[in-house]
Amino acid sequence: MVQHDTAPEVAEQLSEFLKRRREQIAHRWADAALFSNVFTVSRDEAVEAGRAVAEALADVARSGRLEDIEAPGFDTVRDQLGRMTSARTQSGYTPTQIAREVAGLRAPVAALLRAEFDDPADERMHACLLELTVLMGTLRLVVLETTINAGEELIARQRQQLLEVATPVIELWEGVVAVPLIGTLDSSRSQVVMESLLEAIVERRARYAILDITGVPTVDSLVAQHLMKTVAAARLMGAECIVSGIRPAIAQTIVHLGIDLGSILTRAGLADALAYALTQQGIAVSARPTAGADSR
């Protein structure tokens, strides 16, 4: 890693400044977009958060690792920044917008820093301002890092939820279970489908299992293979499997692809599949004769 040359005494001076003026900094930050939009209820909370960040920056400056996003000083505010950025993300802000808001925190501190020096041409002031800029840039990276981590966690959690949510097994009739498949059937999803279907067959003592693929947009050879394996496994458990919901376009595609689904019982719609399962069990469903209907 290329280290920016920081004169220890300049970093020390910056640290001392940040610590001494943390109250003023915190008050100015409390009015900046990043803080004021997160802590909407109480300004005191915003000030307190700003103070914590200012103190963390002072610690980082003292340690001399102004460019290191893993500097221990940041650890104390990482949680807090994470909460702040996730609040911003939830209200629809992009990482770019958040980064811009963090960039906006520099100017008020720079103004305070300039006011410390009587001579506007003071060399030390320029050195301090430069260090401050470096430090605020690092803070920006830390904030972005927490934003991205939060996003990744969210995606992983949602993926897990999708796996569970997307495969309900429904009992349509005594001894008849159905799985409406929706979306992409990749290997991990079809594994979940197979497991939950086989469990349902045992639990509900099902003789018939219907796999409805109305909601599956593409049936390629891998999906077909998954279907065949599921059907074969269900058969081993003593249940007959029916695949329903094969749309015309998919039927033509399967034929051209050259996949032989001849060994699988298929029906056009879920209703047909249920009707088949009922008929096989000797159950007849008929309309109730109404008073006005023809007598038979």
């Binding site: 992409t184 990749d186 290997s187 991990s188 947009p217 593409t218 049936v219 390629d220 050879s221 891998l222 077909a224 293979q225 015309p248 376009a249 998919i250 033509q252 595609t253 051209h256 692809l257 050259g258 996949i259």
Partner: protein, 147 residues
Amino acid sequence: MHAPLTPTARLPIGSDADLAWLRQHVRQCAADLGFGLVQQTKLVTAASELARNTLVHGGGGHVEITTPTDGARRGLRLSFVDSGPGIRDVDLALTDGYTTGGGLGMGLSGAKRLVQDFVLDTRPGLGTTVTITEWVSGFPAPRPGAR
């Protein structure tokens, strides 16, 4: 004969999630170009098969999506490019049921049957490029088998 092609998109093929994204993208492109539902489904399925080959056998790669025109005809062309081991015996690989990946062995041959134009270019050790083209059938498009 063909107008110069401008690549309209280049998508990576590196994971199952990329395949799902590719299928959606191809379906959208095909719908925008005016393909019918059956043609769309065939094209998306062929793309899915070939992209999985790129992923499983070629070790990943990318797909280039272009929209060539031939006179008044408009089409969608997909090139699946990998730099994997290549295919040693193309005829065998195109045989129904032949597989080295544990699948049904219908991917490559099936994809060929699903589209109007299928070009396979492979060099052992250097990689494989499969290019498929489908033309919008406003009027009857010649099919390779009907020629």
